[in-house]
Structures are given as structure tokens and as C-alpha cells.
Amino acid sequence: MTKASGTPGPAPGPVSPVYLDSASSEPLHPAAREVLLAALDQGYADPRRLHGPARSARLLLDNAREVVAGCLGVRRDEVTFTSSGTEAVHRGLLGLAEARARTGGTVVASAVEHSSVLHAAGWAAERTARRGAGQGVQPVLVPVDRLGRVDVDALTAAASGDGIAAVAVQAANHEVGTLQPVAEIGERLDGVPLFVDACASAGRLPLPAGWSAAAASAHKWGGPAGAGVLLVRKGVRWTNPFPGDDRVDERSSGFENVPAALAAAAALQAVVAERDELAVHQATLVDRIRRRVAEIPDVEVVGDPEARLPHLVTFSCLYVDGEALVTELDRRGFGVASGSACTASTLEPSHVLSAMGVLTHGNVRVSLTRDTTEAEVEAFLAALPEVVRGIRAEAGLP
């Protein structure tokens, strides 16, 4: 066979692909892999039954709960395993709102929450309207500054209004890495429960104080997919917003994924043990990316340069098509995410970048895994200026 003319030759770049999208999903931690395989053999039975295999499954599930509680600094009875981070968000936020249905159905949230939070907030409003208890109820979205940090004064003012069911603020932003002042918000809220989406930060940073309910997702810290964690603070009013079930944990429904829960716990334990060292390593590499990317003409690094996640950096390249950028980087072996409209299924630009007022096109999010090396970062930094230049040249720009 002859090579078709016009087919691009092998792309320059690293021999093996460099995955720089851990904020979407971190590769499975080696500690989780071993535990997962063992638990698949030992944790298959129904943990509610009274026979030997069931007792084994129950023991593994209780063990997973104990480990997760210890790693997150919470009580065992505050931990519920869910089937995903999104399910934990939905149950957490909607359960707080459900318990305050008589007060109202309005959720106050930062404008840069994860879409799962915004969808849940919209759902709470619709549910209130269906009950005839508040026609036209809408979530209140609180603005953020250019760095993506929520306006705490505006948030607390909105939370003191009538009909507020709950406030939702993320621990850290999943797209730009900016940390939110959760503890300060928790102190300033007067009786309104605070839901904290900790999916982007859990395992990487300690859980901030001040939450009434919180959510985390195992595959973001190196656990398996299909395992989320819902936390409900002891003494907080939470009412199941969905049909009940008769499982081990009254806050969950469906057959427990015991192997995934145990593997999630093992990964979390390993990640928490190594995070101080890893965070320094990752923050150093991210600082380097921030500095070097900003040297490319017309590239703006976005997100808080100080109060941020250690492993994540986002930037936007003026006049560059985000899809072309992601595709060309992929051709060269670099897997990155983008918040640009042309890369989204909705064709809408990222609501996070929009709320921050930063360029939504030409956007790239780089997030490091625990294995990302300095050499891989250097290879990326060597390739990027050429890729950006090439796309601009194709658009007829100098």
C-alpha cells in the first residue's frame, strides 16, 4: 500500500501520549488497583444479608466508610457512598433544600459552580413551582471577580433574602482552579445551610470548614469511576429528595458498589498520605507553565495565581480556535481539556470563563496527574507556541 498523499506524517512530540487532563479524571492510583481487584472477589455479596459472604461485603463497606471519614476529617456516620460525584451533588444539595421546603426553593450559588450544581439548583426551583409554593422561583447566581472568586458580600446578602433553601459554593473551581472562601462564607451564613461541591479538590486539599453537606468524586483523586461521596454534617436537617430505598445507608439508594467504594477509599488514603509532597511538585510545575505560557504573545493565564488547586492551570489564546488547539495538541500527543464553545457539546462557551469575563475562545486547561514529569511539561511547553503560531497563521494572522 502506498501512503495517501496529503496525509500528515508522524506528529512531532513525545513517544507515548502525555495525559494532562486529571481534572476530568485522574488515572487509577496503583493502591486502588490492587484493592479493587481483591474486593471484586471478596465484596460481591449483598451487605445487608446475614451470611458469611454478606458479612465480608459489609465489613469491606464499613472499612471503606471508616477510611474515607478519616481522610476527610469527618465522622463515619456523615459519609454516604453514591454512584458518582454528580449523584452526591444532587443528593447533597437537594436533600438540604428538601428539608427546608417550607422556607422556599431558591438556591443561592456562585456563578461558577459545576453544571451538576446548577442543574440541581434549577431542579429545586422547578420542584417548588410544581408544588405551587413559589411560581417563578429561580436560582440566584452570585457574580465572581476576574480571578473566579465569588463575591462574599453579595452571596451573604442574597442568602439573607426570603425563600432561600440553601447556598452552594464549590471548594475549588474545576475549570480554573481558584479556591473559594468557603470557611468565611460558612461563618457568615445565618442559619441557611451551605452545600460545598468539593469534587475538584477532595483528596488534594483538606476539606474546608463550614459545610452542611458536601460532595466528592473518587475518579478525580485516582479512585475508580462509579464512586462518589456524599457528606451530611451530623445534626444538619437533610431529607431524601428522591424515592427511598432499604439499603445499609438511608441516604443512598441502589445496591452498594462495595469494590468501588473500597478502592476509592484506598486511593484517597494514598493520595492524602502523599499530597503535601505532591502538591509542592505539582505547584512548581504549574508555576512554570503559568510563567512560560504567558510569554506566548496574546495568551492570558486565568484563575487565581495564589489561592488555587496545585495541579491545574488554564489559559486562553487570543484569535485561536479552541477545537483546533485541542486537536493539534492531541495529534502531538498531549491530552488537554478546553472550555471553548466549539469544544462543548452545547456549543455554548464555558459559563465559568464567561462569568469571569475572560476570553472563552482558544481556551486550554492543563491538569497534572500524580505521575506527570518535568520532562512531559517541558515537551508540552516546547510544542505549544508552535501550535498556537500555526493556528493563527492558518487564520491569516501574522
Binding site: 496574546d298 492570558e300 487570543l318 484569535y319 485561536v320 480556535d321 479552541g322 471553548s340 464553545a341 466549539c342 455554548e348 462557551p349 470563563l353 464567561s354 469575563g357 475572560v358 476570553l359 472563552t360 475562545h361 482558544g362 487564520a395 494572522l397
Partner: protein, 77 residues
Amino acid sequence: MTADLELDCRGMLCPMPVIELGRHLADVPLGGTVAVIATDVAARVDVPAWCRLRGQEYVGEDAADDGTPRYVVRRVT
């Protein structure tokens, strides 16, 4: 709002409206205005962000006769 130059970017996807703006700003004198008419929703964020990055003045948004959003920029450098 009046504008010294109108750029018809209907149907263009990001980043084309902003590329057009960058290409044609110098066509108006200092203090002059350019209006970008764009159907792409990203332009609502990207035109003001472009102004900030380029040190130009974002005047505001109105609508063209057919209702398409129109973003007005004043050349200040």
C-alpha cells in the same frame, strides 16, 4: 448606538468575530467606533475581554435591525 464601522459577523463562530475586530479596528480613527454584529454567543464575553487585553474601550451592547446582538468598541490607542 452609532458606529463608524460595522462588521457583519453573522454566522461566524468564535474566534472569527474577534479576529475581524482585530483586523479592522485600525480602519477607524482614534476615538472612532466599530460595531461587531455577531450571532455567536461567545462574542458577548470575548469582545469585552478583547478590549481589556488590547486596551480598547468597550462601549456596550445593543441590537441590529434584525435583532442580532451588536457589540460596540471605541478605538482609544
